[in-house]
């Protein structure tokens, strides 16, 4: 292993999907199966490389203690006042997101296996390019690379939605692209302001995130009227892009549309990874670089997070389209993460950080399953579905698993993050800075716990309508108790176009390949979250601590 340094390992991991994209393109003339097989191989190889890299990270005491791992630095412009490098590397914060991006890309390829027959070359090439961009954004250690990858994730997804999406795909793609882009332009300006602020003080133009973070500690941006509230303005500029990306209510309306129209593979990546970029941005830039502004804005964003939880859950409750329901559940769940992040207590931010992964797994699983249901019954309308449990038991088992994960059933991953976020929020209420905020924090935290009840309501109601109840098939003998109510069976539910023969209705191998790894991690994180928390702790702590310190300090 000596000849294969972590740095080259990292580069290879990011390059692998690009190589895979070229291979897939080259194989284009050989038909669908060659293309998708090559895409699957690239995605699996990338996952293997990423997994191995994570194992190496975990074996490195320095990395676990918070230092960057697998550093790659390429000088770009280092003359005069310029010290511009392209630099890559992983730390505890990006480690699991990096792994998640690789994991979900495998899922995205396998769920598209039968679903995408039209122009497969373009589809898989874009999917692999998207993977490279996602890996890149989490490995980026300088502002230029980060922002490039951050924006570049939009392009493949724009085409994936716009070409392979459903009926209203063009409007959805346009809205998704323009909305998030408009926000990100402000983010870019904010990042530039940070770079320039540093340049004006240190005399060096550097884009290196770590250098900037340290420099902002020494020369913080002014947070007063004399300084023009510069820190707050920059914070708001960053917020513009991140809030749309997360999305924080009320900047969320692009999300349900994009999800409903996106092909399943696109939804998996969108919900699983791309939504996390906003939170990742807060953690990487806002909290460490603009701590005073963060502390001032935190209660409001905490409130918006709680609003999102309740609002997303309520809107999800009345959805008639299963995919749209899951999309709104994402809005609700991202609300928990926003809330946890801006509670600014160690437990809450740690929970928010873990919940990024958890939501990635459960929402990707649910979107994948909705895609599978659509392939079978050609509808996502909840009222048209029913009794799937009798026809596809393993599909049902998987859906139940990810439902339970999503509604925070203990023993599965979702519970861990939710619990830590809520515990940390109560901690924030307790350590309250002023009695007014203390009461407000307590009330909002209680509301967030109410969201847990609502979450169970909309998900289990959907499960009841989609999976349980009778179907058009003749009723089976269900033993003694059921005999009394057989009369009612069959009168309920009537799904449209039951095109797939009964014996081919349950999960197929590639669908299982898409879901099983997610299921394994859902259970693993649920049972032993410490394994996943420990390596992330030091790095996350270093980033959230400045803002947390400010939030804790007594204000006059």
């Amino acid at each position: 292993m000596n000849g294969f340094s972590p740095s080259s390992h990292l580069l290879l991991t990011i390059a692998a999907p690009l190589v895979g994209a070229v291979v897939a393109w080259a194989l284009g003339s050989r038909g669908v199966s060659a293309v998708r097989q090559s895409a699957a191989v690239s995605a699996v190889v990338t996952l293997g490389l990423a997994g191995w890299l994570i194992v190496r990270f975990l074996g490195d005491a320095a990395a676990v203690s918070g230092l960057p791992f697998a550093l790659v630095e390429m000088p770009w412009l280092t003359e005069g006042i310029f010290d511009v490098k392209l630099s890559l590397g992983l730390d505890g914060l990006s480690l699991w997101m990096f792994g998640l991006a690789a994991l979900l890309s495998v899922t995205a390829v396998f769920v598209s296996w039968d679903a995408v027959k039209d122009r497969p070359v373009g589809f898989y090439v874009l999917l692999l390019v998207l993977e490279a961009a996602m890996l890149g954004v989490f490995a980026a250690r300088d502002v230029i690379l980060f922002y490039t990858c951050f924006e570049f994730t939009l392009v493949p997804l724009f085409f994936l939605i716009g070409i392979w999406g459903h009926d209203d795909r063009r409007r959805a793609a346009a809205k998704f692209f323009i909305y998030t882009l408009t926000g990100s332009v402000f983010t870019f300006l904010g990042l530039l302001a940070i770079v320039l602020w540093n340049a004006s003080h240190s005399g060096t133009v550097t884009f290196d995130i770590e250098t900037l973070t340290d420099a902002m500690k020494i020369n913080p941006m002014p947070m007063s009227a004399e300084g023009g509230w510069l820190q707050m303005i920059v914070f708001l500029a960053l917020l513009a892009g991140f809030a749309v990306k997360v999305p924080i209510v009320p900047f969320h309306t692009w999300l349900p549309l994009a999800h409903v129209e996106a092909p399943t593979g696109g939804s998996v990546d969108l919900a699983g990874v791309l939504l996390k970029l906003g939170i990742y941005g807060f953690l990487r830039f806002s909290l460490p670089m603009l701590p005073e502004a963060t502390a001032v804005a935190a209660p409001w964003l905490f409130g918006l997070g709680v609003t999102g939880i309740i609002y997303g859950a309520l809107v999800a409750l009345v959805q008639t389209d299963l995919k749209r329901l899951i999309a709104y559940s994402s809005v609700s769940h991202m609300g928990y993460i926003v809330m946890g992040l801006f509670a600014l207590t160690p437990v809450a931010t740690e929970g928010a950080n873990l919940q990024l992964i958890n939501h990635g797994i459960s929402s990707a699983g649910l979107f994948a399953l909705v895609g599978m249901i659509y392939e079978r019954f050609h509808t996502r309308n909840i009222a048209s579905l029913g009794g799937i449990a009798s026809k596809a038991p393993w599909l049902t088992v998987m859906f139940m698993l990810f439902t339970f994960s999503s509604i925070g059933l203990p023993g599965l991953n979702g519970f861990v993050g939710e619990f830590m976020i809520l515990a940390g929020s109560f901690q924030r209420a307790w350590s309250g800075v002023s009695p007014v905020w203390q009461t407000a924090y307590l009330a909002m935290s209680l509301l967030a716990v109410v969201g847990v009840v609502l979450g169970a309501w909309y998900m289990l109601w959907a499960v009841e309508r989609v999976f349980f109840g009778g179907s058009r098939e003749p009723p089976r003998d269900h033993g003694h108790d059921a005999a009394a109510s057989h009369a009612t069976t069959g009168s309920h539910g009537s799904h449209g176009g039951h095109a797939v023969p009964h014996d081919r209705c349950d999960l197929r191998w590639h669908e299982l390949a898409a879901l099983l790894p997610l299921a394994v991690f859902a259970i693993w994180i649920g049972l032993a979250p410490a394994t996943f928390l420990r390596p992330a702790f030091a790095a996350r702590m270093r980033l959230t601590d400045p803002a947390a310190q400010v939030a804790q300090a007594p204000t006059p």
């Binding site: 530039l192 847990v452 289990l460």
Partner: protein
């Protein structure tokens, strides 16, 4: 098994059913009609281990030894398996609450836990054996045994968990098992609906447990029950650890303490189906009857009792909350018994009876005396036997009647199914509290505990024992509240929560009378069911013959031995356990060594064991009255004839509609929430998204971009980005030059 460490044995109790569940999942299809084997073997082995542990624990405590004179010393054993999650508090400076989050997966063994482990595994085993016959031929046969094994695993973990978070974990896990078992026949829309309802109502209770957990963590800095030794050698006192228990001022009273206790009570109300969260349990009868017997009668629904009993010192520090426990319990007992008197579905009679009996246990817990706590657990044990027996008996009837459970459609079944009839009668006598059956003794103790609070002078012993100490910790803005109610009135200065004013002898007298009335009602509805089902002319519904293709009704028969043997075993337990456990005082002595009950505030209320003749006579009279009325109305009569409820007048409508709880919830919570949800969706679509679209259209330039979107915006954007970057770099260079 002497060589094996008790900690290993303790782990085996939940582990064996878990392994059984996994094996059944893996081998279900291969095993086919023998899919019950792993579950039976796993739960049987688990039961054997649990009994071994109970025996060892009894030896440790010294049950049957010399004296009841010295106070019990706490006995516990804790084993930590792994660290589930931990977040060190690295913010050393400026943190108001220096609170580490450290959650170990720790199991504990103490008298309370080991008693419940034996009940869960033994009743679980009998139910599993019974299910071989009951579930025979069901397409979901393996799935049923997977779920039952998972349930036994979760339930044993729940009572063995040694911190509040772990309790929450398995609190929800048993709820999930319950959800899946209620919805076992998922093609029935009623079953699917009932499953969802059970989960959601329980989630409302879980809300209480979750918030209580957060408050406990903030108040006590840990969630562990037990004391832990930290890395630096200091001891971190657990919430229910011996260190804090020995400290007379170790528990927070006042507003925060009361809030914690009321939230725990809310949780208990959800899981144990107490008012106002009881509405899910009757609907849960849509599940297979063995599941109803195990989960919705004998074990899971008693989790709330366990939680309150385990948290005894917390409750005793908050007299107001404690009184609320009794008020909720006694009210539930009465209301559920009233509803039970007009039910015609045999399983629903039993469901309301379960709610009512659990209410008794809560009433007893709320007295806050050692007698009250042990009496509640005593009743939990006897109730587990006789209620499981009654449910399995009802299942046997249902099995024979081709799935019909409406009592008006059959009658005189004692001639067709004598074993079921005899065992059901024994269970009914136990439930009705007829001497010398089990329920008589445990109910007597519950009445005694209530009586001692209503008429304290008649029970002088416990008064003298009120400790001088017993003042609750004051933390921050929380004020002094004394632990024992009587001392609290003496102290006077302590400003307790508003609820404390409820804690008055007249309240307790009312609760006592309510419980006595409930005892009469219990005997009435139980024997109404017995007489309707087993006496009168023999009638069998036509569905009974369906599954054997015989003439209608001709196939009605006694159930196979695999079903009747568990009935007989439970009948023996229902007949004997009360007398055995009461007469030897074994259970009470044993339970008194549970750490939670050794807190001075609880232990000081200990009274010498006594049989209360006056209460026994009152209770027996009530039961006799109930049975006589039931006999007048139903003994030997056709069950589809005129019913007793015609004498109730308008009350009958109220009872038959279950006091309109479901309608009130639908009108006050579900419908308004659905309206708000619809409103939110409209706002989302037209206000929020509409604004977004409007903003997007406002600038003409942006509108142009939208129109030409398909013609290569992306490249243009990339170009713009590059140009922008160049401009900035140039500007920087210019600035540097200048």
């Amino acid at each position: 098994m002497q060589d094996i460490a008790p900690s290993t044995l303790l782990v085996l109790v939940p582990l064996l059913p878990l392994v059984a569940a996994i094996l059944t999942v893996a081998l279900g299809r291969t095993l086919g009609s023998r899919a019950h084997l792993p579950a039976i073997a796993g739960i049987a082995a688990s039961a054997a281990v649990a009994i071994t542990l109970l025996v060892g624990m009894a030896r440790e405590v010294g049950v049957g030894g010399s004296g009841h004179d010295q106070p019990a010393r706490p006995v516990e054993m804790v084993t930590t398996l792994w660290e589930w999650a931990s977040v060190p508090d690295a913010q050393a400076a400026g943190v108001a609450t220096a609170t580490n989050l450290s959650i170990p997966v720790a199991l504990r063994l103490d008298p309370l836990t080991s008693t419940l482990l034996v009940i869960i595994t033994c009743v679980g085993l009998l139910v599993a054996v019974y299910s071989i016959g009951y579930m025979h031929g069901d397409p979901g046969y393996p799935r049923f045994f997977v779920l039952v094994s998972m349930f036994v695993f979760s339930m044993t973990m729940l009572v063995a968990a040694s911190n509040f978070l772990l309790v929450y974990v398995f609190w929800e896990a048993v709820g999930a098992c319950s959800y899946l078992l209620i919805g076992f026949w998922f093609t029935k829309p009623e079953a699917a609906k009932a499953a969802k309802k059970a989960f959601l109502v329980n989630r409302v209770g879980d809300f209480g447990l979750a918030v209580a957990t957060f408050l406990l963590w903030m108040t006590y800095g840990t969630l562990n029950f037990h004391d832990t030794v930290l890395a630096d050698g200091t001891t971190m006192p657990g919430i229910l650890g011996v260190t804090r228990l020995a400290d007379a001022s170790g528990y927070v009273g006042g507003v925060v303490g009361t809030a914690i206790c009321l939230l725990l009570l809310l949780a208990a109300c959800g899981k144990s189906a107490q008012l106002p969260l009881h509405v899910w349990l009757p609907d849960a009868m849509e599940g297979p009857t063995p599941a109803s017997a195990l989960i919705h009668a004998a074990t899971m629904v008693t989790a709330g009792i366990y939680l309150v009993a385990r948290s005894a010192p917390l409750f005793v520090a908050c007299p107001g909350a404690l009184t609320m426990v009794s008020i909720v319990g006694a009210t539930t007992a009465l209301v559920a018994a009233l509803i039970g008197t007009v039910q015609n579905d045999l399983k629903r009679v039993l469901a309301y009876s379960t709610i009512s009996q659990l209410g008794y246990m809560f009433a007893s817990l709320g007295t806050g005396t050692l007698l009250g706590f042990t009496a509640a657990i005593f009743h939990l044990v006897t109730h587990a036997f006789f209620k499981a027996l009654l449910f399995l008996g009802a299942g046997s009837v249902m099995h024979s009647m081709g799935g019909v459970i409406d009592m008006r459609r059959f009658g005189g079944l004692r001639r067709i199914m004598p074993i079921t009839a005899a065992t059901f009668l024994i269970g009914s006598l136990a439930l009705a509290g007829v001497a010398p059956f089990a329920g008589f003794f445990s109910k007597d103790e519950i009445l005694a505990s209530l009586h001692s609070r209503g008429w304290p002078d008649a029970h002088g012993e416990h008064h003298e024992a009120v400790p001088a100490g017993g003042h609750a910790l004051t933390a921050g803005s929380f004020h002094l509240v004394s632990v024992t109610p009587d001392a609290g009135q003496l102290a006077g200065g302590g400003r307790g929560s508003q609820l404390d004013s409820l804690n008055h002898p007249s309240t307790w007298r009312l609760l006592f009378w309510m419980s006595l009335v409930t005892a009469g009602l219990t005997a009435f509805y139980t024997f109404r069911a017995v007489f309707m089902t087993f006496t009168g002319p023999t009638r069998v519904p036509e569905e009974a013959g369906r599954h054997s293709h015989g003439a209608a009704g001709s196939a009605a028969h006694e159930s196979p031995p695999v079903m009747t043997i568990p009935l007989v075993i439970l009948a023996v337990a229902s007949a004997m356990s009360g007398w055995l456990l009461f007469n030897s005082h074994a259970l009470a002595t044993f339970l008194a060594a549970t750490p939670s009950f050794t807190a001075p505030s609880v232990a000081s209320t200990a009274t010498p064991p006594a049989f209360h003749w006056d209460l026994a006579i009152q209770g027996s009279l009530a039961a006799a009255a109930g049975i006589v009325v039931a006999a007048l109305g139903h003994l030997g009569k056709r069950s589809d004839g005129p019913q007793m409820e015609r004498f109730l007048g308008p009350l009958e409508t109220l009872f038959a509609n279950r006091f309109y709880f479901d309608q009130i919830y639908a009108g006050l919570i579900v419908k308004p929430l659905e309206f708000v949800a619809t409103l939110s969706a409209v706002i989302d679509r037209y206000l929020i998204d509409g604004t977004v679209d409007l903003v997007a259209r406002l600038p003409f330039a942006l509108g142009a971009v939208v129109r030409h979107l398909q013609s290569g915006l992306v490249q243009r954007y990339a170009l713009a980005g590059v140009i922008g970057m160049l401009l900035i770099v140039l500007a920087l260079v210019a600035r540097a030059m200048g």
